[in-house]
């Protein structure tokens, strides 16, 4: 199972970009994603921690973009919502007495690290504005 964090976050940011002058409520955003507002607020908390959005508490409060959408890349959003991309590891520690078991994870890490560089390069070329303007 892969978490929907990236998808949810980019959905939130696209909405914020569409209404640059408004503070959107978690309730409103949740209505577009069809998600519980608490989960929206959790992703917003993450975005706030990275200074991508700012929010205002209280009546008529909500959240708005705090950065230039042309300068925020999908790579940054990726890094805020995923540790890294990859094809996974076996859950248990492999047998250290087996030459393959002993080194497999290290080799997988190298492979996945190359995948990340690859994907990062792609995502670096797309801004939130680019993404949002498709709609």
């Amino acid at each position: 199972m892969i978490s929907g964090k990236f998808a949810i976050t980019i959905h939130i940011l696209t909405l914020l970009h569409k209404f640059p002058n408004d503070y959107l409520s978690s309730e409103y955003i949740a209505g577009s994603i069809n998600l519980n507002p608490v989960l929206v607020r959790k992703e917003i908390a993450n975005l706030k921690a990275h200074h991508i959005v700012e929010s205002k508490e209280g009546k008529n409060g909500g959240t708005k973009l705090a950065v230039n959408a042309a300068e925020l890349t999908l790579k940054q959003i990726f890094e805020m919502t995923f540790e890294t991309i990859g094809l996974g590891f076996a859950k248990n520690q492999p047998n250290p007495d087996c030459p393959v078991g002993k080194n497999i994870n290290q080799h997988l890490e190298v492979l996945y690290s190359e995948m990340n560089q690859n994907v990062s390069k792609q995502l670096e070329g797309i801004s939130l504005e680019d993404f949002s303007n498709q709609f």
Copy 2:
């Protein structure tokens, strides 16, 4: 949570490549991965369905490679164990009355499809033999 299928499968194949003349038992392979033998057999069933390995039942049975390791690419292994790479989707159907909700998944699919092409290209350049010879 990301499944360990790819990692387990490549571990199995690396072991088989190291012992090209032997039928390795699921018990033995499981000992290297530190995994339940039944799960090893399930991945082997998948490999068999793709004609990558062959196995022999009964005493002294087991599994061995059925293809040339120089010609089996990590891309093929990836495709046998993952549908596709990507950064996920929100679980629920987004609001079709919202212009963003209506189209977000379609745009994400395009993005992920590009990621797949990108990663596939990378994995296509690495054979099982290449991978295994690192050990």
